[in-house]
């Protein structure tokens, strides 16, 4: 097992270090990429939905204004998609984009700036009765302008470090303005994009088929003749599909056990790509419940968790691995390990942490054997193993914790009502960007999705500061401060372990790079099959 772990680290290192498709290999044309999708989209409208079940089958039909560089393993570098180039004003409040020419919708019509404007207006300023999932994350935008057919201009209310990245959101499909003008809901049930693949069919619960767009603006692409997404809910059936070579790749993640089985069965026919995953389970305390209003108690809770040992054990059985702060490790704003080790709960010496935790509890007047209920969401992976681990960790500092599992769909309703002492919470990013990752921890009155029922103006202020800091180093500093305050000093919420994404795919699949987000890199324009 130890030997194996070493091997995994090696695979991981390779995966993170080098793109899997070396430049010298010449892409081959043709073939149909088949991939299982573990979830299915409710509607087709990316602006409205939030499941990867939409991105995986639908992203290949569309382009976005910017996109995340598909060859960047950190998934953080915005590059142009429909935008050919862009400039930002000195004050950082105006962004001007030049669009590519000759981009056509699948119906043959030309894509122009009015389509981009209409799409972003729908996302940022939806008319009454139109749902937009991410309206809140574009609060900075004052107006979107289309001064000429190939220019789009965004005017911002304040400076935003993350603005370009946020335009690379995989959700922000560019729709056709004429269609939106007639029916804002049209895209919920129809597909009409500019992407590398055109829509063929969708059979509910069964599959989704796309075929090559011969008139794609990026000449020479896509390489595939088409793709077929199979909606397969059971992971065993997904694994069987890969195992039986009925499918090439599943873009979300498998477990380490699945990876090992596939590798054992198919050997070289399987290539494994892994990455830290921009999803994390964290613990939220309810400040309205005693003694969790006392930060000494909250700190004790996080100090009790020996994350380094936990990582070793849990990574074998659950889809978690990396010990991380508020930002995914390996990405530009991630906390360097030596700094992370200074944060409470991340000390290398677990005994020291536990002693400190016990001291804090004693100081706060929490008796030995104090018992409380830990609310957990009724999902097996990775909620269950993590909770079991934490309860054991807490037992070691003299706390007696009972788990109370609530069915998944009812769970957050309960949290919102504050019906808990300490609870599991969850955050998953579609792009690695501190604005998205930290927003969760704003005061509860600013973000009701922060269930701590707490107010922390210092954190709110730090959030704004990092969001507006255009200098990378300055922004890093604020993020570190934010992290120190959130996880250590106040410990309103604290992290468990970073999820870990494992993609064992057919070795025939080339031109696809794993990133920390399973929402990214699904346009499939550069993906090809060796045979």
């Amino acid at each position: 097992m130890r030997r194996y772990a070493g091997l995994l680290t090696l695979i991981l290192a390779v995966a993170l270090a080098a793109p899997p498709a070396p430049a010298q290999e010449k892409p081959r044309y043709g073939g149909e990429l088949v991939f299982p999708v573990p979830s299915e989209m409710p509607s087709y409208d990316g602006h409205r939905e939030s499941t990867f079940g939409l991105i995986h089958p639908i992203a290949p039909h569309y382009n976005t204004l910017l996109r995340v560089d598909p060859t960047d393993p950190t998934g953080t570098k915005p590059i142009g998609d429909l935008a050919e180039s862009w400039t930002a004003s000195k004050d950082g409040l105006v962004y001007t984009f030049k669009l590519r020419r000759g981009v056509k919708f699948h119906d043959g019509s030309q894509m122009t700036s009015k389509d981009v404007k209409a799409s972003y207006d729908k996302i940022i300023f939806p008319p009454a009765g139109v749902g937009s999932e991410r309206k809140g994350s574009y609060a900075v935008v004052e107006v979107v302008e289309a001064p000429d057919p190939y220019t789009v201009r965004f005017r911002l209310k304040w400076t935003a470090a993350s603005f370009l990245t946020s335009l690379a959101s995989p959700w922000n499909f560019i729709y056709k303005a004429d269609i939106l003008a007639k029916d804002m809901h049209w895209y919920e049930k129809n597909i009409m994009g500019t992407g590398p693949f055109t829509f063929v069919e969708h059979v509910k619960g069964s599959h989704w088929v796309g075929k090559k767009n011969p008139n794609y603006w990026d000449k020479g692409k896509p390489y595939l003749d088409g793709y077929r997404a199979l909606f397969i809910k059971a992971s065993s059936a997904q694994v069987a599909a890969i195992r039986g070579e009925r499918a090439h790749i599943q873009f979300r993640s498998f477990t380490s056990a699945d990876r090992d089985n596939l590798k054992a069965a198919l050997g070289d026919k399987i290539t494994v790509q892994e990455s830290p995953w921009d999803c994390i389970l964290m613990v939220t305390t309810n400040h309205e419940k005693k003694p969790f209003d006392d930060k000494r108690v909250r700190r004790a809770l996080t100090l009790a968790l020996d994350r380094y040992e936990g990582s070793k054990a849990l990574s074998r059985i659950a889809i978690v691995k990396e010990v991380a702060g508020v930002v995914v490790p390996g990405t530009p704003y991630a906390t360097p390990p030596q700094e992370l080790e200074k944060v409470a709960g991340y000390w290398r010496d677990a005994n020291k942490s536990r002693a400190e935790a016990r001291r804090l509890l004693k100081e706060a007047g929490v008796p030995e054997g104090f018992s409380f209920t830990f609310r957990n969401r009724g999902l097996p992976m990775p909620y269950e193993p993590l909770a079991v681990w934490m309860i054991d960790q807490w037992r070691q500092i003299g706390l007696n914790v009972k788990q109370d599992v609530v069915e998944a769909a009812a769970y957050f309703g309960e949290l919102r009502k504050g019906a808990f002492d300490v609870a599991m919470d969850f955050q998953c990013g579609y792009i690695v960007e501190p604005d998205l990752d930290l927003y969760k921890f704003l005061s509860s009155d600013k973000n009701p999705a922060n269930y701590c029922r707490c107010k922390d103006e210092v954190l709110d202020d730090l959030y704004l500061k990092q969001a507006r800091a255009l200098d990378v180093e300055e922004r890093r500093r604020y993020i570190r401060q934010f992290e120190k305050r959130l996880l250590d000093e106040e410990a309103h919420s604290f992290m468990t372990l970073q999820w870990h994404r494992i993609i064992p795919h057919s070795s025939k699949v080339k031109g696809w790079q794993v990133t920390p987000s399973h929402y990214l890199n699904n346009q499939l324009d550069a993906v090809w099959l060796t045979e």
Binding site: K189, A234, S236, G244, N447
Partner: protein, 318 residues
Amino acid sequence: MTKFIVRRLLLMIPTLLGVAVLIFLLLRIVPGDVVEARYVGGQGQFVSVEQMAMERAKLGLDQPLWKQFVAWMGGLVRLDLGISMWTGAPITEEIKLRFALSLQLAVMATIVATVLAIPLGIVAALKQDTWIDYGVRVFSIAGLAMPSFWLGIVFILGLLIIFEWLPPMVYTPFWVDPWQNMLQLVWPALAVGYRYSAVATRMTRSAMLEVLREDYIRTARAKGLWTKLILARHALKNAILPVLTVIALEFAFLLGGLVVTEQVFNLNGLGLLFVEAIARRDYTLTQALVMLVATVFIVVNFTVDLLYAWLDPRIRFR
């Protein structure tokens, strides 16, 4: 007889109404709703309370319960199932394909079960307490002991390891490509049918044993009839009645969906849809599915009664 049929048909209305009220209320007692399920969790942090209220209003979830119920009933009366709260698509469209699959699987599994159960049951009864009987009993107990999804996994692994082959992953309707269709469905039908045959086999065996002990069988033998004729004409028609009930109820259960088996074979059937509809708090879809399954049960029951009457004159001429 006509009166009997009309009466039974009319009795369906209060039964279904009762089911409707029950499922309507049960769904709303469970915490959480479709808007919650959709926007909260993962990335719901950017969704405002106002937007959630708007979504609820759009789905009519802000209406008083009785109004929601009346609206639903009104639709049902017009045979309009409404739209799914989750996908926004008409429920008929959501159910259609899955129903076709579940129906076909149920029919096939029932055929498998019947084809296995009736001959095996008869043979076991005729050869009571011989090794043939024990063999049949072991076979059927094994069927009961093995969950069909487990048998399904064994099938899949077997096919994969021995033949390096997997059944098709995607459902092809029978009328489009019968061969592909069969290649996919024959395995789950065997796995499920085998399991369901167990009960029917035992029922056939015991019914047959019971009938063979009846006085009228002795009368038939005393008349000097051939053994085969006694079995076919005198015994089977009597023994088949309880078997029929078992098989019909199994058929109704099968049609209600086989959640785990569907997952194992990746079948796009009603079972998974059902589970997902409930998990997503898709009230309209769940309600429609419950009504569908309830109707199926009632209709199957009714059909069994009619078959009973057809096979058993004591009921027909009551």
